[in-house]
């Protein structure tokens, strides 16, 4: 069986993106299960310290294409190079972050290779499959598990016949874990100039305004999250006050973001960020499936809601039946009192 490949994204700062490191961590575990190697593909320009960044995650081979025209990302140059690598190396499994890059690139590759791709997987496992129609046994397939139908259903998808088995995974779903500080692999340079053609540069980037991530919700240990029930932009200030006092980050449900209460970067849920804090305080959030998908792995959950039947209350450790505007000031007051 051939190896597991992870396409690694390069950030504005020239480092390997967190989502890619998370996927390398998972990839290493899958490689262990299948007894194969873990390989990374990096396509960019002047990416420094690649070995130091990637070997600790257990990468056995880094394929690196370096060219000024490869950053920022555009589809065709990256697709041409990746297809070239995949045609030579014939991966068993190929994983991408489910980002604006991964969701742009992976389907293009899957179409060219005529192989199966599953988007936004929330879990990847190895397992067997018996196909009744053809009476064929498939061993050690990648189970690509993801929600579907608005999150009401969890589907397990497999690609029995085609290779590579491809999947995209959102940031925050897999845990970033170093494999070993002393692990060493090999770096192979890809001859980008030989592969790239004029046609690959059909798209030119005229302008780019990327903001430095001021808000890091993903890694926050305590998150105070507001939903439509918070009621207004002004009321969200209460959440920010509590967050200040607890050293927490402020998140939001999609409804609150759509209503303009807070910025989109704070959105938690299926189409936002997935978080796993020690404590998640949900304020005025009803708890739709899509929101729960982004926070139900929190260690402790407190829900503040005037509606005792709000679905979020059912997964909360504490359900406070009350008004956010009353409860939060009290939480601030009693926190200060008890932490003296």
């Amino acid at each position: 069986m051939n190896n597991i490949f992870v396409y690694c994204e390069v950030t504005e700062e020239g480092t390997i993106a967190d989502v890619s490191l998370e996927l390398l961590s998972k990839g290493k575990k899958l490689a262990g299960d299948l007894d194969v190697k873990l390989e990374a593909v990096v396509i960019g320009y002047n990416v420094a310290n690649l070995e130091a960044q990637l070997f600790p995650f257990g990468v056995d081979f880094i394929h690196y294409a370096d060219d000024e025209r490869l950053f920022p990302y555009t589809t065709l140059p990256h697709a041409s190079i990746l297809l070239n690598v995949f045609s030579k190396e014939r991966p068993e499994i190929a994983i991408f972050g489910a980002t604006s890059i991964g969701r742009d690139l992976a389907p293009r590759i899957a179409s060219a290779l005529r192989c199966g791709l599953t988007a936004d997987c929330t879990s990847l496992e190895i397992g067997d499959h018996f196909e009744n129609k053809t009476q064929t046994e498939y061993k050690n397939l990648l189970y690509q598990i993801r929600p579907a139908f608005g999150g009401n259903i969890i589907a397990t998808i497999i690609n029995p016949e085609t290779r590579p088995q491809m999947a995209t995974v959102r940031e925050g779903v897999m845990k970033k874990e170093e494999f070993s500080g002393s692990h060493k692999g090999k770096l192979k340079k890809i001859d980008a100039k030989a592969i790239l053609k004029d046609d690959d540069f059909a798209i030119t980037i005229i302008e780019r305004h990327m903001e430095k991530s001021k808000i890091d919700i993903k890694n926050a240990q305590v998150i105070i999250s507001g939903g439509y029930g918070v009621g207004s932009r002004e009321n969200f200030n209460l959440l920010f006050d509590l967050a200040d006092v607890l050293g927490a980050q402020v998140g939001a449900s999609r409804a609150a973001v759509d209503a303009g209460f807070v910025e989109h970067e704070r959105q938690i849920g299926q189409t936002g960020v997935t978080v796993r804090p020690k404590l998640y305080i949900a304020c005025g959030i009803s708890g739709a499936v899509q929101h729960r998908a982004g926070m139900d792995q929190s260690a402790q959950i407190i829900s503040i809601n005037t509606d005792i039947h709000a679905p979020l209350n059912h997964i909360a450790d504490f359900a406070i039946i009350g008004n956010v505007a009353d409860v939060i000031p009290k939480m601030i007051k009693y926190y200060k009192k008890n932490s003296k």
Partner: protein, 307 residues
């Protein structure tokens, strides 16, 4: 001048003389906001008939972008293309009511059970039948599959560049398009030569409402299959007003290879479906009064959940 240069010049002249053709890919989707177990069949595919059907929201954003180009270039042609069961003709009508010029439904039992690869294969054959075209615009993703794969996969099969996560088409001329993309950390403005495939994000402007004049004009627009299923006989109407006939193409009309369609043309297979089950935790329900909040904060601090 070399022969190849002459050919390129001739093609680009023809391109310019052709009306600006925009193909909008859209999908009629089950309303996934309320799915019960009756809607799923044994082979893991959906029983779409059991759910109310709607025009996929992001495809409506895509239609709006196409219609805005037509607002500025009145000679442009906006063609709606959709693949689905015969009911999907409904979204073609919805597009006509908003200003689209024509619609095509590709429909065939052989398409049933298609994953994104098989779907993009069929769509690309239909688009090739509508060549030459300047743009293919679709929504980023559909609310049933949520994959965002069909747009890029169709672009790959047509060997044209793709621009995903488009928020707005800023400007167009016969040769190029300039698009603003909405990415996770900001915006990017890109320029691309035509033809190109664009997928539109939900942050794009919402689609215009139906226009009464067009609603009156197109309310009887039907496909042949729909007419066969209806009891009223308006044959005269369709002879006198050919624009009311919505074209239907089958797999044979597309010269599609059967092994690349439906379940057999789909490398991804559904192994298992599970309903999301609500897990009740042993929650402690408390009121918002002072004593209880005081006790709660103390407990959280003592157990080091908060510092």
């Amino acid at each position: 001048m070399q022969l190849s240069d002459l050919c390129v010049s001739v093609v680009s002249i023809i391109f310019k003389l052709m009306s600006f053709r925009i193909i909008v890919l859209a999908k009629q989707v089950p309303d996934t906001r309320n799915v019960g177990k009756d809607a799923m069949k044994a082979d893991g595919t959906v029983n779409r008939a059991a759910l109310p059907a709607i025009f996929n929201p992001e495809d409506l954003h895509a239609l709006e972008q196409a219609l805005r180009i037509k607002d500025k270039m009145p000679d442009a042609e906006v063609i709606l293309l959709t693949m689905g069961p015969f009911r999907a003709a409904e979204i073609i009508r919805e597009s006509l009511y908003r200003g689209a010029d024509r619609g095509y439904l590709i429909t065939d039992r052989k398409f049933a059970g298609s994953d994104t690869l098989a779907t993009s294969y069929a769509l690309s054959l239909a688009i090739k039948k509508l060549a030459p075209f300047h743009m293919v615009i679709s929504g980023r993703q559909a609310i049933d599959g949520d994959t965002a794969q069909v747009g890029p996969q169709t672009a790959e099969k047509l060997s044209i560049p793709q621009i995903t996560y488009a928020e707005e088409i800023i400007s167009v001329d016969e040769k190029t398009v300039t698009v603003r993309r909405r990415l996770e950390r900001g915006v990017e403005v890109v320029k691309c030569a035509l033809p190109v495939a664009i997928t539109v994000h939900s942050s794009a402007p919402i689609c215009r409402q139906r226009i009464s004049k067009l609603l009156m004009k197109y309310k009887h627009a039907r496909t042949v299959t729909e007419l066969q299923n209806e009891t009223k006989d308006y044959t005269d109407l369709y002879i006198n007003r050919p624009y009311l006939m919505i074209d239907e193409w089958t797999a044979d009309d597309l010269s599609a290879k059967p092994e690349m369609l439906g379940l057999s043309g789909s490398p991804t297979k559904v192994k298992k479906i599970e309903n999301v089950v609500f897990q009740h935790k042993d929650s402690r329900v408390i009121t918002g009064d002072d004593k209880e909040i005081d006790a709660l904060m103390l407990e959280l601090i003592k157990s080091h959940v908060i510092g």
